[in-house]
Symmetry: none
DNA sequence: CAAACAGGTCACCAGGTCAT
DNA sequence: ATGACCTGGTGACCTGTTTG
């Protein structure tokens, strides 16, 4: 059922804000708003002001517009890059991959989580971002959870829900977990470590990015990576280290290495791939690895960041890198920067990301990228940002990093090198943390100041947040999870990357982002002051996200449940409790459904298509267009039905809708 | 017809004062003045002095500036929150939903009214939001009412208009069940209780908010709630009691109960959904859901709520909560307290909306999702076309709504609080009036700047707007009809919820408002204050809430009259009772009128629609189109019919609508 | 040819400004 | 202090293009 909905997204949720995704844009599943935002912002970093909260704002539906800096950061974190984009449809295959990956990831994650979790410190850590609450959740939970469960959870988290439900079902099933993901993510950030673990899973997510592959996924990767120096970006990157931790540990491993090969990274995915898929398992095909790519995509949060880390090591995908970089930059900005720096616009933030490391890359990348991005040139920038930073930020980041590192790192260690951490952290922090931590509390504190920002609006608001604290948790994340990345654009991205590489790709334009953002400057102040939390607060909100997701899901029916679950989850996290529990069950069910659906999906789509198509026809006519549109609309409407159907058996569904429609028509 | 006027508003009236709404601001349809007021006040509670009348001041156009405390309270009651804001355009889908809801609601309302009316106290109650009235309806009615009826009623109430009527119907219908979540949320609020009650009604309106979907409407939701303690705010909330009535009864049922549950109410919506669509009716499936999706969107009020519900349960949306809370608080304060207390800012009044209902979920989800769909094809656009019709449509819709509301409303009793009537009245006027709004014109001016890029667009846009002015109105709506929601906003929204749940995130931020307002001071204040709602407040919910309100609004025609009445009303309120009772009759009458009006309109519209669609061409092609069209038509028709029908038996109505639609189609 | 995304368009809203 | 108006920006929808 559910499903369906979007064709595009396949039920994915926007990795940035948790809303239902409209499709895979710029390397990640995002909603129209985030797509547009990214598109607009990428070229106009200048327009972005600093984050009042040190870059910790949680981004969710509600508050996504509250803090551009954090929103952009989040975009980067999840792997968005201009370069990442891809045209054309995604193959089913791709989709499948995504799902699989997710599953895998989850599994992995789960595993990792458990294992790692602890490690890292918190384990999951995720919490981080979530701001407050968050972390715990993810991590903990994860850890706590039984492996399988964990895995599932992880997945869930990541994918959140869904990922693909159906497919994964199992995975997902895990259920409840999902939400966590977000958290995880958060954590991730943070802590990446844990997260990392998660990530892995996550990473996976992140990682890769590109789901799709579009193109190439692969391609993408590399290219970028290579190209840009940025990768390092990290400049600050250095951070890497931390970052490194993050994740990958596993994979990452490599981590350290930064440079070079990025391409591989992307590949990272591969690794993922390798995994057996759960779901896929069945699938004969499975193209394998190819798919994987997406990993990164998978999760929202992660990706980028993660990647970064990874990248760091390796090179992250260009995109990633960029992203990372950007992210880093951003964060920095946020945080620190305060003022000054921001990204270098010109460059692309990202830069490169390259990191690569072949193997590990993935993880590594993340880190790196981040910052530097732009690096190459620009690197500096990021740094700056970072630098500036603010202190707070940094701290946060560090936390993350640390955590992450721990976890992952554990090993890793990133190494110094990168400061990766830094960036990562930043990123992470930013991402993750954000709120979280600091976030929340801060918030409280914050309040006070407020200063600036506040001014704006918020201030007040911020205050509120305080309370939130609790709340938040939840949700949001989940959503993220769900999605899978199809393809991964990421990958593709990569391809694009090349360009990036060059520059950052996009650099040219694209990149622009410099993180520098204005923000920075202020940043701090803002931050502090702002304290408000503002933004975040909401963010966290998480819950919402969750829900949202749910909805998204809902699509299917199940989803809903999930949502709730999520919530629960969320809640739990935060508050433990609350929520509830239930969710899972539901989910499962859903999953089931989903599963079912999925298969169909492909087919379904077609059906759907038909409808649409029809429209087309209309078109011909022309004028008709209008009509068409309407039809479309209707269709859509129907579609909805249809959508649902999609997965399922499309045909059927469709029919129904149609029928109805028809009926009408007929009647007519 | 009227209509239209505002594009934005779609003929909505300011939920706070009854003037024509300039748009959907901070989660509710409001006029420029109330928008500004809220914006200013939110951050400066201090500036608000206590109400001399124990918070019982009725707010209407005339006296809105007389008592800031009450005005602010009212704002909160209707679901305004900083977080509730929504950006961007409203999806067609959303629009459609609204229409549908209306219809359904109407139907329901009608039904309810008849049946229930009596029961509850006021029966329908929608009033709620509107102020006073609200509550009653829901709950009691629900209970009392026959299931179906109840449901319908609920819908009406809640959703006000509509939640989605059709769709969910069942589910929802069922009940209420779903709602629960919301209820929960509400509860959450707490006070929801009362608040809830009110809310409900009110809430509904408020709640929802978001019309659009945007997002999220959802957003709103929860957030606040959780976070803030405020919720309770209720402190005073208690109030609930009165309010209680409001709504939900059903769910809420609690009517009385104050507290809590509000959410359900929202759910009510669900109920709504469940409803069969008129048009759809035929549809087996129902994609409805799909359509629906939007629920949240749908109405302001509803959707969110609904969704929320889901969430809600858990966590109401922050916003909602906040709102709710706030409202509650406010009320309390005012009412009871007299002075003292206020809301807790933080919380949101509403709470949640959640509703969910599992089963039904689907639908719900669908709704959400639906949208997305979109089509694939592309065609999409169409919208425009549709538009045309628009105006009329809108009007129609409104009528429906109004009618519905009235019907519903009547009831209401609103409880003390609001004197619902008043509002309505106002509203009505507003609706009619609408006009428009300023906005458009402005556009022109703008131009300039734009800094960079933006400029461009914006400008354009604006410009357009201008022109739009006219256009919009119309069209959109019409279009709306046609459109489907792609995804849905709704969905999204929901999803958010989760987050909300969490926290609400944001809330923090937003909300500053504390209800505390100076006024009260009190306690809440603090909370609130700080808490503020802030931020988050935003959230969520609100928006949705808002919608609900709309309905509320609906007011329409009558309203105007009412306005004057308001005063009366007020009076009445004071004197309890009032509320309701009569309403029905009136409504009916009105309905009649409306009907009439509508009818014509409809036809026209239909034609139009048809035409558009019709795209005859389409036909050929595809059925689909046809279908779509049909749908559109249906929608429209339904609307129209629906409206007409309203009173009649909902079901019937629906059919009719459908029929009509069909017919139209046929024609086509 | 159809699917699906980058981009562009423009409906709409938060906020700021300023006359009242 | 209010609220009309304007500015900036968000995001739903479309269009154009690439890709399966």
């Amino acid at each position: 059922m559910m499903n369906q909905d979007n064709p595009y997204a396949m039920n994915q949720t926007c990795k940035v804000c948790g809303e239902p995704a409209a499709g895979f844009h710029f390397g990640a599943f995002t909603c129209e708003g985030c797509k547009s935002f990214f598109g607009r912002s990428y070229n106009n970093l200048s327009s972005i002001s600093d984050c009042k909260n040190n870059g910790e704002c949680i981004i969710n539906k509600k508050n996504r517009t509250a803090c551009k800096a954090c929103r952009l950061k989040k975009c980067l974190m999840v792997g968005m890059s201009k370069s990442g984009s891809r045209y054309g449809r995604r193959s089913n295959w791709f989709k499948i991959h995504c799902l699989l990956q997710e599953q895998q990831q989850q599994a992995v994650a789960a595993m990792a989580a458990h294992h790692n979790s602890q490690q890292a410190g918190g384990g999951g850590a995720p919490g981080g971002s979530g701001g407050a609450g968050g972390m715990p959740n993810g991590v903990k939970a994860m850890s706590g959870v039984p492996p399988p469960a964990a895995a599932a959870a992880a997945l869930g988290m990541l994918g959140h829900p869904g990922g693909y439900p159906g497919l994964y079902a199992a995975a997902t099933a895990g259920g409840g977990g999902v939400r966590s993901k977000e958290e995880l993510m958060m954590l991730g950030l943070e802590s990446a470590g844990d997260y990392g673990a998660l990530k892995h899973p996550v990473v996976a997510s992140p990682s890769v990015s590109s789901p799709d592959s579009h193109n190439s996924d692969s391609s993408v990767e590399v290219s970028a990576v290579r190209g840009n120096p940025l990768l390092h970006l990290g400049g600050k990157s250095s951070a890497g280290g931390a970052g490194g931790g993050g994740g990958d540990g596993s994979q990452a491993s490599g981590g350290g290495a930064v440079p070079g090969r990025p391409p591989q990274l992307r590949k990272d995915l591969s690794p993922f791939l390798p995994l057996p898929f759960p779901g896929l398992g069945s699938m004969p095909v499975m193209p394998p690895p190819a798919f994987l790519p997406p990993s990164h995509l998978l999760f929202p949060g992660y990706h980028p960041a993660l990647y970064s880390h990874h990248q760091g090591l390796l090179k992250p995908t260009p995109e990633q890198q960029q992203a990372a970089v950007a992210a880093a930059a951003v964060q920095h900005l946020f945080n620190s920067s305060g003022a000054g720096q921001r990204f270098a616009p010109g460059t692309s933030p990202f830069g490169n990301h390259q990191q690569h490391q072949p193997p590990p890359q993935q993880h590594l990348k993340e880190e790196e990228q981040p910052a530097p991005t732009r690096s190459p040139s620009g690197h500096a920038n990021n740094n700056h940002l970072l630098t500036n930073g603010g202190a707070a930020d940094e701290l946060t980041k560090r936390f993350y990093l640390d955590a992450v590192l721990k976890s992952q790192r554990h090993s890793p260690p990133a190494t110094t090198k990168l400061p990766p951490h830094s960036k990562q952290d930043y990123s992470i922090s930013a991402l993750v943390t954000p709120n979280s931590e600091s976030g929340r509390e801060r918030v409280k504190s914050r309040q006070s100041n407020g200063q600036n920002d506040e001014d704006e609006e918020d201030d007040e608001v911020r205050t509120e947040q305080i309370r939130d604290g609790a709340e938040e948790d939840e949700e949001e994340e989940d959503l993220v999870v769900s999605m899978t990345p199809p393809h991964s654009p990421a990958h593709h991205q990569e391809p694009e990357t090349p360009a990036q590489v060059g520059i950052h790709p996009s650099p040219g334009q694209d990149d622009p982002i410099d993180l520098s953002m204005k923000t920075t400057g202020s940043s701090l102040s803002s931050k502090s002051s702002s304290p408000d939390m503002d933004p975040e607060p909401e963010n966290f909100s998480e819950g919402e996200k969750i829900e949202a997701e749910d909805e998204a899901y809902e699509e299917n029916d199940k989803e809903e449940d999930e949502e709730e679950e999520d919530l629960k989850i969320t809640t739990e996290e935060d508050q433990p409790e609350e929520h509830e529990k239930e969710p899972e069950e539901e989910q499962e069910q859903e999953d089931s459904e989903k599963t079912v659906k999925q298969a169909p999906l492909l087919n379904n789509n077609n059906s759907i298509s038909n409808n649409n198509n029809n429209n087309s026809i209309l078109s011909d006519s022309e004028a008709s267009e209008t009509i068409k549109r309407k039809l479309d609309e209707l269709i859509e409407a129907s579609s909805e039905n249809g959508k649902r159907l999609r997965l399922e058996s499309p045909a059927t569904t469709v029919k129904v809708a149609t029928s109805n429609a028809l009926d009408l028509t007929t009647k007519v």
